[in-house]
Amino acid sequence: MSTNRFYMAIGGLAVLAYLATAFVDNQYYFFAGFAILQLMVMALAWNILGGYAGYVNFGSAAFFGLGAYAAIVALQLFGATLFTQILIGGCFAGLVGLATGYLTLRLRGVYFAIATLALLVVAETLIVNWDYVGGAAGAYVLPKRNPSILGIIIVGKNDALFGNYKELLFFLMCVIALATIAICRYVEKSKFGRGLEALRDNEEAAESMGVPTLKLKLIATTLSASVMGFTGGIFPYYMTFVDPISAFNLDISVNALAMPLIGGTATWLGPVLGAIVLGTLQQVITVTISSSVNLLIVGLFLVAFVIFAPDGFLGLIKKFRKRGD
């Protein structure tokens, strides 16, 4: 797909998402759609470092949770608006990502993965012991009534852009997801992306060929963490309540790495496919059986794909196409 067409499609999808908020009445679709889009953004963000650069991050939930809590701090400090909260969540998580990368990116393979897992534990412990943001008990977020920008009412019953917060948050998450897809596609096609690919294949050879591997890895970690932070920044508003257990939940990390591995890590389409298929399945199971079964399903899929289709859905599609030829 050419670049122009791609951006037109992205714009078209954003318009469709907005139209959906205007014409679809059943609020469950926005609730479920938000959850699937959140999984998608986390998976795409994970793939920037894990898929393109080959550094497996088990601490995605740390960046997500820190984004959520940065939003809470901004709210407590100066009553930040939703948009400012999202922005602060993303920027703070990005900075933590940069610092973490600087400390851990000299580690490789399983050692790096353990270090990111340790970050998750450290971040959660800090928040549990910080009363200003509610500590272990968590914090409530009460959405403002009839918020407006430049006189335009954003959420309200009459003459507003969105009928309620669920619709606004769904639309915002959709915009974040589309922007993340655009970023990932740009990364794949850029010199930066080719550098990441080279260092994933062989870091020593890449460095010897002039690729500034540490710099690229730091950029990738910062980018990945800030996208996770943006998603985290919107989370308190979505839940209206946030506590360390939900914000730093290991499920978030597992889903973030499972979706790209199941969909395929080679391009942005893999995490998107993985999130759509597994996210939808999770929602169906939550409604029909129980939300507790979700992670089991992800685990089973992950094991099956690692054994039978290590290149994910995309790899399978490629294989079938080759057979067809």
Partner: protein, 239 residues
Amino acid sequence: MLEVQNLTKNFGGFTALSEINLRVEPGERLGLIGPNGSGKTTLINCVSGTIQDYEGEVHFNGENLNPLVAHKRARRGISRSFQIPKPFTSMTVKQNLMIPLEYAVKAEDLGNLTIETHADQILKGLELSDKADQSTSGLTQIEMRKLELARAMALKPKLLISDEAMAGLSSSEVDDILKILIELNENTKITIIMIEHIMRAVMSFSERVVCLDAGKIIANGTPDEVIKNAAVEKAYLGE
């Protein structure tokens, strides 16, 4: 061009290199030999920046390279091939060459050529044109060795270090690689350091040969002088 001063490298209690002093002149063809474990690859790793925590100094074109990491040394013009080929496996043969061309070569050094054309020319010179769009996984041993050299050449180096580029090749394939390296040196005046165990190749290639043993230089002279050196004979054959 390259000057190594008092270079020492310890791995824990093991001294891999001890007080190495070495000068390489511009356009020179230098052979680096020595038994297994003598420190040849460690020396190259120190020069190319893969290893940085060494004692002593490495100077290149008058500049002290010690503070520079490997990719910055590559951009200064130091290029190397690896003893065990390390291709970028998810890329095609041509894309492997695009990485150094994109990251290490300045636009003005390419002249009117695009990166792609430049990569095509190198592949043509090494008779790899028909493999350009293929994955590296299907390459034969000689093709893999050529790819290592092609990628090192794509960096447009001033100093090329070939680390056992002929290991595992047949006699005629060794001649192929030798021809490539000699032509490269004669046509472009690139300085080449060749690490090699195949004596026939290294002796016919080198203008000067340095022999390492247990991390020390035990001989430094013309191929004839080095091959007749008693210390070299002892290092290879024992007492």
